[in-house]
């Protein structure tokens, strides 16, 4: 359970957000929607269908054609689902995908000992996740690992199937050893991707009144939350899987599922931020850059190097990929944070400033991934139509699907990518200014904002050159 100090901080922070409800719209208050949110059935049915789809995808990956562009698993996972995740689920729903994700279902069922009852009498060892492994470090590592093998994973149905199986097995194992959704919180690379960007999304689960929570000693919401979140203490939506168990468990109807302005969790300079979160934000930026170069750039030697796992060129690619993510971008951002410290006159330690200022990178990262997705997936949508017309590779031609024309997507693609990137940059620049404004005392916020802002502009220029140049 959260400590008293953290509880007090949460109370103050919740009270400090006076008037927040004026800019929120509680979806759970809609009479026609409320039953769907309160009932576990809609999510259960959706997740069960997704699980069936996942099993089919794994089988198709293992048994289907070796050539990726003809394999159901590749098309479904890396074009259809990946596009939906980045262009719809995350920017509009935060961790909404996590609420229907089938990967942790088998482990969760085993842990709960039932399909629909929630966390009543958990099975397994129920250990707490080790303190040393908390934070986003493992997820950053998992994402880097995927980056190293991305060319093979994204093009070989068998590898994709084995990766999915490994994720399921890992989630089952961790569910039986550790409490709650340890896999989703600390290990899942997809969670590592969606969590940070959920801070930008226009959806949140929060308490309506902090005083109601203060008077409620049982904290049933915390007991029920598979993510181990205490709604009153939630500083942002990064670790909220939108499962709505807290709303079902609250005896006082004190939980709201609200629509809110985009980016509501970002820009608060006073809230503590971890270096792990900052590092993950930089890994996301570096990976987007590397993926853009490998998958959409004209450099054939780079594609071959990334694909030939274990070869000397691949070792070179790996070294470059890791240097970009572990040295170059963190080094440049550390320089920006150092300059910010000098120009703002802030007495805070460099590490703390590094973590605080990294908040400005979230919109840039999310929008860069969106632009990359447009470049990566839009020209391949015809493959989705072909796959739907012949999902089992049996030579079917289901009417009207294979003949769909997606040529127009190629024409609007470059302009759309540039617009998305510039929108992300504009939001990040605004955040950098906001953070600088909050951190200076007698110095100019314009100068203090300049280093991180220039980092964002240079990064955007780099991505623009790769995607539309």
């Amino acid at each position: 359970m959260k400590g008293v100090a953290e509880f007090d901080l949460a109370m103050r922070s919740a009270d400090a957000r006076r008037g927040w409800r004026a800019r929120r719209f509680d979806l759970a208050a809609l009479p026609w929607l409320r039953p769907f949110i309160e009932s576990r059935w809609p999510l259960f049915v959706t997740r069960s269908l997704a699980l069936a789809g996942l099993v089919f995808t794994i089988l198709a990956g293992l048994l289907g054609p070796r050539v990726g562009s003809h394999n159901f698993a590749i098309i479904l996972v890396w074009i259809a689902w990946w596009t939906a995740l980045k262009l719809v689920f995350i920017p509009l729903g935060g961790r909404s995908w996590c609420s229907v994700c089938p990967l942790p279902m088998p482990g969760e069922w085993l842990q709960q000992g039932n399909l629909l009852g929630g966390l009543q009498k958990p099975h397994g060892l129920g250990l707490r996740w080790p303190k040393k492994l908390r934070g986003a470090w493992l997820q950053s590592g998992a994402f880097l690992l995927i980056g190293l093998f991305s060319a093979v994973t994204l093009t070989d149905g068998r590898v994709t199937a084995w990766v999915l199986l490994a994720l399921i097995l890992a989630s089952v194992g961790l569910s039986l050893v550790f409490e709650r959704r340890a896999f989703c919180r600390y290990v899942c690379p997809i969670g590592g991707f969606t969590g940070p960007y959920a801070r930008f999304a226009p959806v949140e689960v929060r308490v309506k009144s902090s005083s109601v929570c203060a008077a409620h000693s049982e904290k049933t919401c915390y007991q029920a939350c598979p993510w181990g979140q205490y709604p009153l203490a939630m500083r942002d939506s990064a670790q909220c899987g939108l499962c709505m168990e807290c709303l079902r468990a609250c005896p006082s109807d004190n939980i709201a599922l609200s629509l809110r302005p985009f980016g509501s969790d970002l820009g608060a300079a006073h809230q503590p931020r971890g270096l792990d979160e900052a590092f993950l934000a930089l890994v996301m930026l570096g990976s987007a850059l590397a993926f853009s170069a490998v998958f959409t750039g004209p450099w054939g030697w780079l594609k071959s190097a990334a694909y030939q796992v274990g070869s000397l060129p691949w070792l070179g690619y790996s070294a470059g990929f890791l240097a970009l993510n572990l040295l170059l971008l963190p080094g440049l951002f550390a320089a920006a944070a150092w300059l910010h410290r000098r120009l703002s006159g802030s007495p805070a330690q460099l590490g703390k400033i590094f973590a605080q200022q990294a908040q400005a990178l979230y919109p840039l990262g999310l929008f860069t991934w969106m632009a990359f997705t447009v470049s990566f997936a839009f020209p391949k949508f015809y493959l989705v139509a072909e796959m739907l017309a012949d999902p089992l590779g049996l030579g079917w031609e289901l009417p009207g699907l294979a003949a769909l024309d997606f040529g127009w997507l190629q024409q609007v693609g470059p302009g759309l990518q540039a617009a998305i990137l510039l929108a992300g940059l504009a939001i990040s620049l605004r955040l950098a200014r906001q953070l600088a404004q909050a951190s200076v005392t007698n110095r100019s916020p314009v100068l203090a904002a300049l280093p991180v802002s220039l980092f964002c502009v240079v990064y955007t220029g780099w991505v623009l050159w790769m995607l539309v140049g």
Binding site: G297, P298, G300, W301, K303, Q410, Q411, A418, L422
Partner: protein, 150 residues
């Protein structure tokens, strides 16, 4: 309009004007006279060589596709170009580069696992979208750093 509100609004008006100029003004690049261009493109898994073709608007472009290892194809986004050839053969096609911009070359025949990502680039005239986008990025930087009036 009061003096204070004019002071507050003026920089934004200037930036809006600047953004409009960046978007609409023609780039200061001298137009070259159209001429015939010929490119022999060698294709191998999963690269074109050369991978980047730069031509001027109006050029008559002839592309010769020469696969080196397996059968390859070549299509160009937004252009009616689609070539396919077996190894050892050459397929060619001539077209007028009448659409300015930067367009992807893509392999149009499944040639291996990385086939969907076998790409190149046709640049017709200057990369206008890139330059305009970079200009807008600088305008966004200026907007973010503007003094705030309370």
């Amino acid at each position: 309009m009061t003096k204070t509100s004019l002071h507050a609004v003026l920089p934004w008006l200037v930036l809006a004007l600047l953004a409009a100029l960046v978007l609409l003004l023609p780039l200061p690049v001298a137009a070259a006279a159209p001429r015939a261009r010929r490119f022999r493109i060698e294709a191998s898994q999963f690269a074109y060589s050369p991978a980047v073709l730069r031509v001027n608007p109006g050029d008559q472009v002839t592309i010769e596709l020469a696969p080196q290892d397996v059968v390859h194809g070549l299509s160009i986004d937004s252009y009616p170009v689609d070539l396919q050839a077996d190894p050892g053969q050459v397929a060619s096609l001539t077209f007028t580069a009448d659409r300015p911009g930067v367009f992807k070359l893509r392999c149009s025949v499944t040639c291996g696992n990385m086939h969907p990502f076998m790409t190149g680039k046709l640049q017709v005239g200057p990369p206008t979208l890139l330059w305009r986008s970079l200009g807008l990025a600088l305008v966004a930087l200026a907007a973010a750093l503007l003094p705030r009036f309370k």
